[in-house]
């Protein structure tokens, strides 16, 4: 069943249809919440609460619009509110997964080590950026949201996402150069 149909049925009070909709989007919703809160249990609570709030707000969801960014905006708000009320700073708690079998045979061990170091540097520099910069980069590059989806999720215009992203990358570049100089 298509997402639009599920959303329509959910709007009419069909909780089974909504459960299916939740299952379709819970992974990305949890990741968004985790990127904001930096804490897995808090992210789980925020995700669950956001889905409940989204159900109650389905009347305000424009039929035919994309459900995912509309939902992710609710998740982002819920996660931000929870983090603020818990009095925590937004810290980047992401880690790079262990390489394992992912290394291609075509890549030399030296090149793999250098690439891994570069990734760690990038992650460290990203952690030095503001929450706004981090989120726009994370949504766009880590979660693979389109510019339009990122804009809806962050509650701003598409042009704003473009300019924010450009400034965030410039700051990230500076942070990386500083890191390397040090």
């Amino acid at each position: 069943m298509e997402e639009i149909e599920l959303a329509e049925r959910a709007r009419d009070g069909d909780t089974a249809a909504y459960e299916r909709l939740v299952r379709m989007h819970q992974a990305v919703a949890f990741r968004v919440a985790y990127l904001v809160t930096g804490d897995a249990p808090e992210a789980e609570d925020a995700t669950q609460e956001a889905f409940v709030k989204a159900y109650r707000a389905l009347d305000r969801f424009r039929p035919g619009a994309a459900f995912r960014p509309w939902l992710l905006a609710i998740v982002t708000n819920e996660a931000r509110n929870r983090r603020r009320s818990a009095g925590r700073r937004a810290n980047l708690t992401l880690r790079v997964a262990a390489e394992g079998q992912a290394i291609s045979a075509a890549v030399s061990p030296e090149a793999a080590v250098v690439a891994a170091e570069r990734r760690e540097e990038l992650l460290t520099s990203l952690g030095e950026l503001s929450e706004g910069d981090r989120l726009v980069i994370s949504y766009r590059y880590f979660l693979g949201l389109s510019e339009q989806e990122t804009a809806t999720t962050l509650g701003c215009a598409r042009g704003t996402v473009k300019s924010r992203l450009s400034r965030a990358i410039a700051r990230l570049r500076k942070a990386m150069q500083k890191e390397e100089d040090a």
Partner: protein, 235 residues
């Protein structure tokens, strides 16, 4: 260092996309079922609410109204009023050797008056006791689980109200222990203090070892008072 090694924008964008594919997130919890249960509970409650008594006819208000009527009857009864005014007016009464007030012989004699005063005092006493410890002055603590169903390991919201220390209705209870009971097994979920509003709100998990079926969530105060709520562990 040559400038081309100083991270071009394209290089950073490539690096971010590559990083995004290799990031490690905690495993995604399955919240779909819990969300549906919460929504179903909510809808059940809303449907149930339509059949409830109007708020002004709720048992608590009915008890309050009954107490008010009783006090009014006592206060407006001419016999009681006369007796009370006699009791408080100095010089209008004499005291017997035994220490009891001797009513003036009105309305058919002193024995009847004494009887009525006795009944009224008992009623007033009962009413006062009812207000002090019953539904009005010191409401019984209560807990609410939402949803009241869940799989082992799932979180649920547990809220409590009227958790005061003693019966002053002002001091929040501290050290309230929350247990999960099932088939002779007991799990301690948490210990918490009530807020200044005498309430608490927590989100414990259904114990991982709980079996599908009926269970009980219990809140025990330091004074040993217990409040329980039925919980269904789902398969």
């Amino acid at each position: 260092m040559p400038d081309d090694r100083r991270f071009s924008r394209e290089e950073i964008e490539r690096g971010l996309s590559d990083l995004g594919a290799r990031l490690e997130y905690p495993p995604t919890p399955d919240v779909a079922r819990a969300v549906r249960l919460r929504l179903d509970e909510e809808q059940d409650r809303q449907a149930h609410r339509t059949w409830r008594w109007p708020p002004f006819l709720a048992p608590r208000w009915m008890a309050f109204a009954a107490a008010l009527v009783l006090i009014s009857v006592i206060a407006l009864s001419p016999t009681v009023r006369t007796t009370l005014s006699d009791s408080f007016a100095p010089g209008d009464q004499t005291t017997s050797e035994a220490g009891g007030p001797v009513a003036r012989p009105e309305n058919g004699g002193s024995d009847r008056s004494k009887q009525e005063v006795g009944v009224a005092s008992e009623a007033a006493g009962a009413s006062a006791a009812g207000e002090g410890e019953g539904a009005v002055g010191c409401p019984a603590p209560s807990i609410e689980a939402e949803p009241a169903r869940g799989v082992a390991g799932a979180r649920f919201r547990l809220s409590g109200h009227h958790f005061s220390s003693g019966c002053d209705g002002a001091t929040p209870a501290s050290g309230v222990r929350i247990y999960f009971l099932q088939a002779g097994r007991t799990w301690k979920l948490t210990t918490l203090d009530a807020s200044p509003g005498l309430a608490f709100d927590t989100r414990p998990r259904v114990p991982a070892g709980a079996d599908p079926g009926r269970a009980t969530v219990r809140a025990t105060t330091r004074s040993g008072e217990r409040v329980e709520r039925r919980f269904i562990v789902l398969r």
